[in-house]
């Protein structure tokens, strides 16, 4: 018993290692399965990388615990098996430190966007290394001073600063969360973070206790074994619960493994619950489209907008009309609903304004910078300048060609048949069926083509 406590290899150790492996596999599956099951294309940017780094850090933490706390029986011959490698470097900057820094980076983003209402001034790929620096400094310091004994334990005077560093980062994370707790997030960002915090705080309590016991009381063998076991198991629980896919990227976080909510939204407008988003109401009266009216008034009509959008897409100039459409949705959100406005504004900025965006619009540098460095993301006039510029662009380039294009002709036809079928319905009630009027016509889902086809068919009918 004594030897296994000192050198590792007790049965409880093996149990602990298998528990850790199991939990890690669960963690991996939680990350990968939404992509496989729901076939979601993975997002680029911090929404994807932060969970990946999170998993990497979890793996490092568990591995460092296994390697440094004498779970397995092996002699430390090579440099890469040394205590300092695992207990100092991998556990600190690459394990626990990285884990907490990821979450702090996410919380920082949320804080900046929803409390300060600006786009974060520092990109996350710069912010993350920055907050990792104290850990790197600490690990280097330990490496230089070499206070660890041959069993990778330190004495009491070293334990205190180490535990303080761990606790400090947890406190920073709790602090950021406290700043954003009053915001009612729409996509469970806060719930996810909070759940992670609660479970990890409790398991950290146990973990720290076990860690301290492990470090200080080298002599008591059963204490060693028990504390080792507890250490690894609580660390595994911690990494699993701490993980969450949500990183304020709502369209991705909607996808979860819970089968009872298979919500999938096509547009941000739908996800935010904006009324009329993407729907064509059947009962709307069709206004007559007058080409002499200014374009911005005409675009207010949904059907005209769809038709014009299709035309613009065919000319490879569609992004301006899509942008207009989404800004129109954005304007429907009530002014005092800051959270939804900010979600929509961020979505529009990611999709249309950022340099290199998927549907980047053709606006001047000045207008772009005004939007990106705005002091208030929830401001109702955020996109006004951009809309003006793009309206000018559309008027000069597309408006004239549209009136003579196939799209407008089709739109006019659809409008007239909609109004005639509307009238006919009123006249004859529900008995009206267009197919009864001509027997020789083949089944045609588009009412307006039926009449013309039938007339030509009748004239060519080769009746023997």
């Amino acid at each position: 018993m004594a030897s296994c406590a000192v050198e590792g290899g007790c049965p409880t150790d093996y149990i602990a290692i298998s528990v850790a492996t199991l939990f890690f596999i669960l963690l991996l599956s939680r990350f990968i399965l939404p992509f496989i099951v729901h076939k979601v294309p993975h997002t680029k940017g911090s929404g994807f990388w932060i969970p990946v780094i999170h998993i990497f850090a979890s793996f490092n933490l568990l591995l460092s615990l296994v390697m440094s706390v004498n779970f397995l029986k092996f002699k430390r011959r090579h440099w890469w098996q040394s205590c300092y490698m695992w207990a100092a470097w991998v556990e600190g900057p690459l394990g626990f430190g990285l884990l907490l820094s990821c979450r702090i980076a996410q919380a920082f983003q949320l804080y900046y966007i929803f409390v300060r209402r600006r786009l974060p001034p520092i990109r996350s790929y710069i912010f993350l290394p920055l907050i990792l620096l104290p850990w790197i400094a600490g690990a280097a310091f330990i490496h230089m001073k070499k206070p660890l004994n041959h069993r990778c334990h330190t004495g009491a005077p070293w334990i205190i600063p180490i535990v303080c560093l761990h606790a400090l980062y947890v406190a920073i994370l709790v602090g950021f969360l406290g700043a954003i707790r009053h915001i009612e997030f729409r996509f469970d960002e806060l719930k996810d973070l909070l759940r992670g915090i609660v479970v990890s705080a409790s398991s950290i309590g146990v973990w720290v206790f076990a860690y301290i016991l492990n470090e200080i009381h080298d002599e008591i063998s059963w204490l060693q074994v028990v504390s080792r076991f507890l250490l690894l198991v609580t660390a595994s629980v911690l990494v699993l619960v701490f993980f969450s896919i949500s990183s304020s990227e709502p369209l991705l976080s909607q996808i979860s493994l819970k089968k009872r909510e298979p919500k999938e939204f096509e547009t941000m407008g739908q996800a935010l619950g904006i009324p009329d988003s993407g729907l064509l109401l059947q009962r709307e009266p069709t206004p007559v489209i007058d080409p002499n009216e200014p374009l911005d008034k005409l675009l207010l009509d949904k059907r005209f907008r769809q038709s014009f959008m299709a035309f613009a897409d065919s000319c490879l100039a569609g992004e301006s009309v899509h942008f207009y459409d989404e800004v129109h949705e954005h304007e429907k959100i009530p002014v005092d609903d800051h959270v939804r406005r900010i979600y929509m504004a961020r979505h529009i900025i990611e999709k249309y304004i950022v340099a290199g965006a998927s549907m980047e619009v053709n606006i001047s540098h000045r207008t772009r910078q005004e939007i990106l460095t705005t002091p208030d993301l929830a401001h109702p006039d955020l996109f006004n300048n951009a809309i003006n510029e793009l309206m000018q662009l559309l008027k000069m380039n597309l408006a004239k060609d549209y009136w003579s294009s196939m799209f407008f002709i089709k739109f006019r036809e659809e409008a007239s048949t909609r109004s005639t079928s509307h009238d006919l319905e009123h006249m004859t009630g529900w008995n009206f069926s267009p197919r009864l009027s001509s027997v020789h016509c083949f089944d045609d889902p588009f009412h307006h083509e039926q009449f013309s086809k039938c007339s030509s068919h009748n004239s060519h009918d080769p009746d023997p």
């Binding site: 000319c315 380039n397 597309l398 080769p462």
Partner: protein, 383 residues
């Protein structure tokens, strides 16, 4: 039972007859469709695809307008954005008055300030009121203000379009109630292109109806428009790359930190390296020579990083020619640097153009046409 059989047979025969009648009609229709498809494919093979590429404001659309005019299509109606230029100048003068140490030169007199504010407000609207004589007079007084003239001299730092001066000087004609745009007005008017525009034409040279058909594509030049170019890259006969050589001291419309000439250089490099353009001919139009002529005597070429090893020789006309030859050499070097050894035999020609000059562009098109014709004969093995 027999009668039933005969009846059925009769029906069968008549149905067959109907089928065979329908059949032959169908056959005729199918044959007609096939013939038409064949004709079109043959015609497609003769259609030469030309692309106008280049950075923003390099003159592509002006060349496109010229092509449209030369080949018969009437000019489209032009809407003069009279308030835009005044707006840019007025805002520019305000900014310069704030930021420059010697700011007194950029301060306007108070009545001119009122005019400036009014024009700024008009410029911010989507629909401009018609240009009246009074408004034209006001704009002209603003234009003549020395502060505005000073600002205009520093127009390369603002995003002032090259046509600003032309339209300011022609305000009286433009505000006429019976104003009809002249060819020059249309060519000078500056509107950013978005998306893709195309025109198909047959150049009528000394040999009438030579059978050559050109399809010319015009695109937007700003960065966001360039991701749409890739849809046009298949089967291109020739790329007409427009580079405005007068823009060596200006920054981009979409990114005021980047010099326009450097952007053109990188863009030209990128276009040359495209795999689709292995056999494509390249016509480089060094455009805006008229502005270059005037600018090169005032602003040295070295302000642009690419031209930093330029040594000014003399003055006057000789200097202009010397500067032009230097720029041309730089582009040639860039071409040969970016061209892999297996592509060296594709056609590459440089033309000095001023897109506003109708005669010059007509002549240039003729040369382009000849070059492409010669290349086609060469490819067909007849030369």
């Amino acid at each position: 039972m027999l009668s039933g059989l005969v009846e059925n047979m009769g029906l069968l025969c008549s149905r067959n007859r109907r089928y065979s009648a329908a059949d032959s009609e169908e056959n005729a229709q199918t044959a007609e469709i096939e013939r038409r498809i064949e004709q079109e494919t043959k015609a497609e093979k003769h259609i030469q695809k030309l692309l106008l590429l280049g950075a923003g404001e390099s003159g592509k659309s002006t060349i496109f307008k010229q092509a449209r005019h030369t080949n018969g299509s009437p000019f489209v109606k032009v809407i003069v954005l009279y308030a835009d230029n005044a707006d840019i100048l007025y805002d520019g003068s305000k900014e310069l008055a704030q930021n420059e140490t010697d700011s007194t030169a950029y301060v306007l007199s108070s009545e001119h300030k009122d005019i400036g504010e009014k024009l700024s407000e008009i410029g911010g609207r989507l629909d401009y009121p018609r240009l009246t004589k009074e408004l034209a007079q006001e704009i002209e007084t603003l234009w003549k203000d020395p502060a505005i003239q000073e600002t205009c001299a520093r127009g390369s730092e603002l995003q002032l379009p090259d046509c600003a001066q032309y339209f300011m000087e022609n305000l009286h004609r433009l505000s006429d109630t019976n104003y009809i745009p002249t060819k020059e007005d249309v060519l000078y008017s500056r509107v950013r292109t978005t998306g893709v525009v195309e025109i198909q034409f047959s150049p009528v040279g000394e040999h009438k109806k030579s059978g050559e058909v050109y399809r010319l594509f015009d695109v937007g030049g700003q960065r966001n428009e360039r991701r749409k170019w890739i849809h046009l890259f298949e089967g291109v006969t020739a790329v007409i790359f427009c580079a405005a050589i007068s823009e060596y001291d200006q920054t981009l419309f979409e990114d005021e930190q980047k010099n326009r000439m450097m952007e053109t250089k990188e863009l030209f490099d990128w276009v040359l390296k495209q795999p689709c353009f292995e056999k494509t001919s390249f016509m480089l139009f060094l455009n805006k020579f008229d502005i270059f002529e005037k600018k090169v005597l005032k602003v040295p070429l070295n302000v642009c990083e690419w031209f930093k090893d330029y040594q000014p020789g003399s003055t006057g006309k000789q200097e202009i020619e010397h500067a032009y030859e230097y720029v041309k050499k730089k582009f040639e070097e860039l071409y040969f640097q970016s061209t892999a050894p297996d592509r060296v035999d594709r056609v590459f020609k440089i033309y000095r153009t001023t897109a506003l000059d109708q005669k010059l562009v007509k002549k240039t098109f003729k040369l382009v046409d000849e070059t492409l014709r010669r290349r086609n004969l060469f490819e067909a093995g007849l030369l």
